[in-house]
Symmetry: C2
């Protein structure tokens, strides 16, 4: 019986062409966050399952996590997200670290779910976190950086929208303004989080199941729906407009404007799935309706590090998934063709293999990437191989060239040939 | 109950200092293999367990693999090695690819075992493979590249040793020269593979258990031990010296000399654990006895791609583990101090936060990495924070500086201060 050649369901193979595209995207992400002073960290791909049970929303741990018991009897999970790991690392060195920490990572994460457009079982997520900084300046930096990441790919403001909320303001709206019970409020928050994925009528049906008769008479449903549709913070009901959280949001919005970030809106229905947010929350959405999943999401979560028995650390951060970003870049024509990074294919005629190795060594010493032909294929076939690989230059080496130290360099995209010395070839290609 | 802050047993957290060192090492590895024309690929971290059952030595799959059944009932494994995945990928596009393929990857791999020096449950391994090229030129390139990788870290020949064998020559020695039964030969190959990890007396005891009385009378043990200690191919018994495999090895050795690789020796006891090698096999060992594990190992395995029901593809390649390499670099003083890649810490006096963001933006536009102070700490404390992070330059911004557009730049390693314009600062730091 032959082995199947497909990858594991919902996961992707990256052939060199795919990997080059991924590297292009990852390099821009990394250099942009580095320019804001963020430093890279990493953590193991397996963690004790307790780490996720303590922090994540229940949905994540029960259905979507890859968990198993290791050979030593430990219950472990393949990381479904990075935030618990990084919180653990900060807690472990709570006293020694120099705050604020600006940390980033680009891990692969796993979630067990039905594969679909923009969703894979294995995906990569840029995680950006600012530890040990409370206040608006930190929230501002994080949102400006989220926007800068897309602009680094030449995106403009019309291509994406940042939706911003304050997690506590939503609580106040549900508990104090609409006067719901805590249990009702929790159910409604979960329902709001699913709102974009379900029909409007289903949303209302579900809402009806949560509300009691007197609330229905008070038109709580209608007032909630009105609230969820507000995208100008100045249109909030007076009771909510005067809350500290609203004042804080207004200050943040003014500063975002000052920093040239204007493509955002207030959205009290932006919840973010996780239970652990304590302040601002935001999502970045592609304006292309074909790619309607959130590309980035984050906010302030000041309580997580404290779960490890150390003093809490003010924290704000976000995650950015590779699949929706890639759809965004392709959808808006922001993905340039990525060239093969092999500079030269060294074609060999006759018994010039030893000479080809010595020429390749000289070219490499000058910083060029060089692939050498190893067998005795016809020269035409060697050139075809280089072309199929997307390598632009072929250097042709036969007995004559070896003796004269002048080589034919063929540019495969223009079909031009030049006869050049090694020094000239290095100059030309660099 | 507080959550524990340690990582999963046998796995490592990478704080920014650690990650910078890892990035330093990985960048050199990647740029070196790229200079030889190798292209990066990647595959999912989970694979069907069948992939490993079909190919690996039994030991690997039974005791050391992280395997479990996913929520859909699929038996999967976290990859313990990359070779099965890459063979699967080549098989899937057997007809479309332009051979030879020069492919590399730098995946994290998992193995369940007792953590010890140079061995972790999660480790990274550079995998370098050349598909679709048989013959000595391909074997040569792979071994020269293995050597070039260490030389790229400024290692010299006296620091490491390459041991080379031909897997078929060992078979001939056991079956035809020592006239062992196939079953005995298989057991002895496994025993030889463990030889460096056990006492000499245990090796002989185990050998005695495998051999029968007549073989003992024929002094097969003694003859085997003599054979295993030969490290000059010319000292092989005549019967083995005239085999094609020996002639091939001699040709390879001559070419290695021509390429300037001289720190190798013939070693018929170099086996490599995996069953799938079909030609040359080699290991690269640190000459430092404190780091006595193999740093790299590989060889020719022409049969793997064919297991997927396509025509076989000639393949030669090797793997290099991060932990033993890191021990090698540290042991031979080849690991330089790695500086923080944040260029400037922007210290802010008084209400200059908005100004600090605009200055940071100018510096970033010029390609510098800039971290900005976000709160109202005393200037001395801000400088201490920068120092603790290992950032070399602090730019000091107060009301006066903001008005004059001249800023104090403090070099923390020399304690010198200069008053400079933004343009001058950019020039100085670049």
């Amino acid at each position: 019986m032959n082995l199947p050649t497909q990858p594991y369901k919902g996961a992707r193979d990256f052939y060199p062409d795919d990997k080059r595209q991924q590297n292009y995207i990852f390099n821009i992400l990394k250099s942009t966050v580095r320019s804001y002073g963020y430093e890279e960290y990493d953590a193991p791909m397996l963690e004790s399952i307790d780490l996720y049970l303590a922090k994540s929303g229940k949905e994540i741990i029960s259905d979507q996590t890859y968990s198993f018991v290791d050979r030593g009897g430990r219950a472990v999970a393949i990381r479904p997200e990075m935030t618990p790991s990084v919180s653990r690392m900060v807690a472990a060195r709570r006293q020694q670290l120099a705050y604020p920490l600006r940390w980033f990572s680009l891990p692969n994460l796993w979630r067990y779910e039905r594969p679909q457009r923009g969703r894979y079982r294995e995906h990569w997520q840029l995680n950006v976190d600012l530890f040990g900084a409370g206040g608006i300046n930190a929230d501002l930096e994080i949102i400006v950086l989220a926007s800068a990441l897309l602009k680094a790919f030449n995106a403009n403001d019309s291509m994406f929208m940042i939706k911003i909320n304050h997690r506590k303001l939503l609580n106040i709206a549900l508990l104090d303004y609409l006067k719901l019970e805590k249990k009702q409020s929790d159910s409604i928050i979960k329902l709001i989080d699913r709102r974009s994925k379900i029909e409007a009528s289903e949303f209302i049906d579900q809402l009806d199941l949560i509300l009691d008769t007197s609330q229905k008479q008070d038109l709580v449903s209608e007032r909630l729906l009105e609230l969820l549709d507000i995208n100008d913070i100045n249109n909030l009901p007076e009771f909510l407009k005067t809350q500290n959280e609203t004042i804080e949001l207004n200050e943040l919005f003014n500063k975002l404007h000052d920093e040239g970030v204007t493509n955002f809106e207030f959205d009290i229905s932006t919840v973010r799935g996780f239970d652990y947010y304590t302040g601002i929350v935001f999502e970045v959405l592609d304006n292309d309706p074909e790619n309607n999943r959130s590309m980035m999401g984050g906010g302030r979560y000041d309580g997580l590090v404290g779960l490890f028995g150390v003093d809490p650390v003010d924290t704000v951060g976000f995650g950015l998934g590779d699949a929706t970003l890639s759809n965004f870049l392709i959808g808006h024509n922001l993905m340039p063709p990525i060239k093969n990074d092999i500079d030269i294919y060294l074609a060999v005629i006759g018994n010039q293999h030893a000479a080809s190795r010595s020429i390749a060594a000289s070219l490499r010493k000058a910083g060029l990437n060089v692939a050498v032909n190893l067998d005795d294929k016809r020269i035409g076939d060697q050139i075809k191989t280089a072309d199929k690989k997307g390598i632009n230059y072929v250097l042709i080496l036969g007995e004559k060239e070896s003796a004269s130290n002048k080589f034919t360099l063929r540019n495969l995209s223009t079909s031009e040939e030049q006869v050049l010395s090694i020094e000239n070839i290095i100059e030309l290609i660099k």
